[in-house]
Amino acid sequence: MPGFVLLALATFPPFLYALYLSVFNFDNQAKVATQFVWLKNYATILTNGRSLHAFGETLIISFESTFLSIVFGFAIALLIQRYAPRLDTWLLILFLLPMIISPVVAALNFSLLLNTLYGPIDQVLYVFTHAVIAWTDTPFLATEVIVMNQVWQSTPFAILLFYSGLQSLPLEALEAARVDGAQGFTFLWFITLPLLRSIVIVTVLFEFLLASAQFTPTQLLTSGGPGNATESIALYIYRVGIAETGSISLAAAAGVIALIVTVIIATIWVKTTKSRDLYGIERGAVWGEANS
């Protein structure tokens, strides 16, 4: 199968090559690895303030935006399912728009909205507070701008998954719980969410992977600034490896570490999905039978 060959060529050699590059010094003129330095590059990455900050920043952005995407996604999916089920395709498509828009356009969009002089948000706030807010000038606000951009783009995915999850719930189980007197938030927390457990986990995993790999908003909205405050790991790798000094080996080492972290997170989540998935299905089945 030619497909397997292409995929093998495109994944294995680059990965091995990254490992290879990461344990050498790299000659930037000749573009070849020169001197074997063991794990020196990894040691540099794990002790250097800038790279550690990039990892930390990426984790903060990822956790924040994953959490917010899940909350908004679930709320919107629930609202659509409860209050406008007949319009679902159209509503879903409208809510999906941010997701199918290029990250470049999203960043451009937010730069228009948050423009200090001409952006509508600052202009409206100015009427009330008479203060000019420079969104990308303090590390905290700049991080939140990145998170906002990420949440805006990645929530639609959560909406869609939760919506299809809600649609697939066994009606009998829900009815039975209603008859037994479960209502409101109790109902959501003890009935709906446990039944959706595997979908929640898949969504969290996916949102986290999306957020941790983000590059466009940090490059375009804040260019990593102020200073290096919002430099995500992808931006760090690009800058250190290619844009600034060309420390290819250092960047390759950072890439390998990022890869390992991602693989660990992904494995944990996938394992959880597998063990819990069964649980959810079993329960649903038992309830369904009890009711029918």
Binding site: L94, A251, L259
Partner: protein, 276 residues
């Protein structure tokens, strides 16, 4: 009871409408800015509605190079085509034929989809320099095909698993070869899923910024070209920038409105079959 229920429904719908307005406001602002005059864009008070003018698009037409658009179209169509043609049989083989270590192969294909792009960018960059494909459309097409391939396999794998095998088996018994059974029975039956998967990777590739930004400079694609407006810090051209952004958004928008069912299926497929 009924009055309370009505109030509940009304407040639920109101909440939905408010969320939708907030969610879509950035899109509205982009469209609005694209059709505004420069004075309205740079007015000290927000201008919420305008009579649309085409000045920004005229500016674009006069000052904007059209090569990136051409490159984008070539790269996107080529890489999506390659990924679809190679990926659909791959997914079928993984779903249907028991071969040695199939689970491992499947895990490998799917795990490549989760690789963080920043881990691959450095080796890709150095390799592309060595094989002289840096800053070329060919190099970008190869990379995109390789990125798209696992996505399409992943989406179609879930579908082929759910599809009953009896039809193809009947065809095989009646004397169809493996490939003709695939082309005559399986492809027509799975056409809508293939379209859904292809559309979703089409959009993803069309929007892709990171690899194109790093691996190409003069022969770049549309997203990178549009992004260069943002880098121009001192005299930002907000109007043309919004107009260019809108141009970049039009193809995904068309897909969203005319292929909405496919798109929804495709995105659900992205999460993997188990989520349905």
């Amino acid at each position: 009871m009924t009055a309370r229920r009505l109030a509940g429904i009304l407040s639920g719908r109101a909440a939905l409408i408010v969320l939708m307005v907030v969610w879509l406001f950035p899109v509205y602002w982009l469209v609005l800015t694209a059709f505004k005059l420069k004075v309205d864009i740079e007015s000290p008070e927000p201008v919420w509605f305008v009579v649309p003018v085409l000045d920004n698009f005229v500016w674009l037409q006069q000052n904007f190079a059209f090569d990136p658009l051409k490159h984008s179209l070539i790269v996107v169509f080529l890489s999506v085509g390659i990924a679809t043609v190679l990926g659909a049989p791959m997914a079928y083989a993984l779903a249907r034929f028991p071969f040695k270590r199939r689970d491992d192969v499947e895990f490998w294909v799917i795990s490549t989809r989760m690789l963080p792009p920043e881990a691959l960018i450095i080796p890709y960059y150095v390799i592309m320099i060595h094989i002289h494909l840096i800053n070329t459309i060919t190099g970008l097409t190869i990379i995109y095909s390789a990125i798209n391939l696992p996505v399409i396999v992943w989406i179609l794998l879930a579908f082929y698993r759910m599809m009953p095998a009896s039809t193809e088996e009947a065809a095989r018994i009646d004397g169809c070869s493996l490939w003709s059974a695939y082309f005559r029975i399986v492809i027509p039956m799975s056409a809508s899923s293939i379209v859904a998967a292809a559309l979703i990777i089409w959009i993803m590739t069309w929007n892709e910024f990171f690899f194109s930004f790093v691996l190409t400079s003069s022969n770049t694609t549309l997203p990178v070209e549009v992004a260069s407006f943002l880098a121009n810090g001192f005299n930002p051209q907000y109007g043309p920038m919004a107009a260019a952004g809108l141009v970049l958004t039009i193809p995904p928008l068309l897909i969203a409105f005319f292929g909405r069912q496919y798109l929804i299926r495709g995105i659900q497929g992205l999460a993997g079959g188990e989520a349905r």
